[in-house]
Symmetry: D2
Subunit: 155 residues, 4 copies
């Protein structure tokens, strides 16, 4: 059910150590997030300019297992999960995909793991508001779902 | 014969004016350059770590005609041209592609024009060297070709 | 009279070739532009959110003379020039500064040259409008000035 | 004892929501890390090209409390801590500094918190190696120190 995004590592993603700069792994995950929203029929322009509800990232975590280099083919699997009526998280798994002669025999190599946490807010007052219905549908489409009925004490 | 690259505008490409930050247009063109090298069978890892010949960009020019926003679908057409035995240029045309109901009736909208000039050098001495043969083949494949036989007085 | 900005090369500016990625040179010049606006008492937040006049970059040119590496100390000299009542350009010279034992005896090394061209527009209609008065004062303060009285046939 | 780094928010740090893109907060923290190394007499060029010991980031965490906008003045306080003979972490606190008339009366506003974890490895084999002595001195200079004698079972 996870959304899958494929991406080459660009030269501009790398640093003088020859591998992807750590912060750019987070940018790549945000690209996958945007692609999954488009795949659910959400207009990015409306999503990121919504005057009644903004959904900023309030937390992120990353673990880096294997260095990625220019030209590497990466698969990003993305799974959103609703945390409360006003909040959701996304888990991303990045895998380095084998190519050419190795493509058949090799397994993808675990490269990184990223988590982002997102809170829906009403922009002028910066107070929590419910996650909009089209975003709930996006979570339903690609996510695992909560294990039980949600209540939101923060809301 | 030009190489064509398709790309969504990512949120990280934009700035607080709501449109793509001007320098990021150049980064996008470099992505198209990398994709064209891969399409010609060139390994990016070997290309950018070639100890006998590096090909730095020595000049770039950009013109911006129309602002690009997050989620926009862009087509980049790339045409390399050999300038001398040690030097080539690439011209990029960026067009904003219509979507949905407008896709059939609308023409792509000219968004930007970029030129980069690249010089082949031997890395340790930083002196000019001939453009490698696999890069000449890449120019042949996607380029317009020089209008006459080349001589290189700089070489 | 030029405005001068000093800047270390950050690790995130570099790419897998070990030197600053070409597009990032343009980003650095924009930082110098922002610093010069602040030095003239202009609020960046108001400048980049001005609802009656936006000043997008419509063209840029760059020449790269010497590669810059992580930790290098760079001086950017910036000179704006009014082109017409609705338009100005900025020229940037980037120099690599010597350090430590070499600081006294060595001359700065020319690293790059950049030009940007900016057009004042009224944002909703995207039609040209006069360069605002506080920006004219900024041009007076750091610029060379036009060699003769301006007329603007485009306006 | 923490190292302190001051930085303006650049236009290129922001995104179309008008605030700093979340991943760019991590890049800013890495700038502070580089500045602290220079302040301890460490050459960045040698540090990031050390053929006997590389120190990649293996994990990062970020919390975002307050949005940062173009032109904002930010203070980053950095505190390294040795975790084992082969590993250290850095904690960064980002605060938005008041300016002008508010500078005297206003407290800095907590904007973000970032943690990075770094492991020393021997680059060819990618096996753990001891944190180099000049990096231990840097930790001593800016850090809080471990609360007890270190042993390293991983080493």
């Amino acid at each position: 059910m996870a959304f899958t995004y494929h991406r080459r590592i660009h030269f501009s993603d790398t640093d003088a150590a020859g591998v992807v700069f750590f912060a750019n792994v987070c940018s790549m995950c945000h690209e996958a997030y945007e692609a999954s929203l488009i795949a659910s029929g959400i207009s990015l322009r409306e999503f990121f300019n919504n005057s009644s509800c903004a959904i900023p990232i309030v937390e992120s975590q990353s673990k880096f297992f294997y260095p990625l280099r220019c030209g590497d083919r990466v698969q990003i699997s993305l799974t959103p999960q609703l945390i409360s009526l006003t909040e959701f998280s996304i888990v991303y798994h990045l895998a380095l995909m084998a190519e050419g002669a190795e493509a058949d025999s090799s397994q993808p190599k675990r490269a990184a793991w990223v988590l982002t946490r997102h809170v829906a807010i009403e922009p002028t007052q910066r107070r929590r508001c419910p996650v909009p219905s089209n975003v709930l549908e996006w979570i339903d489409q690609w996510g695992e779902g909560p294990s039980e009925a949600l209540t939101d004490e923060n809301y």
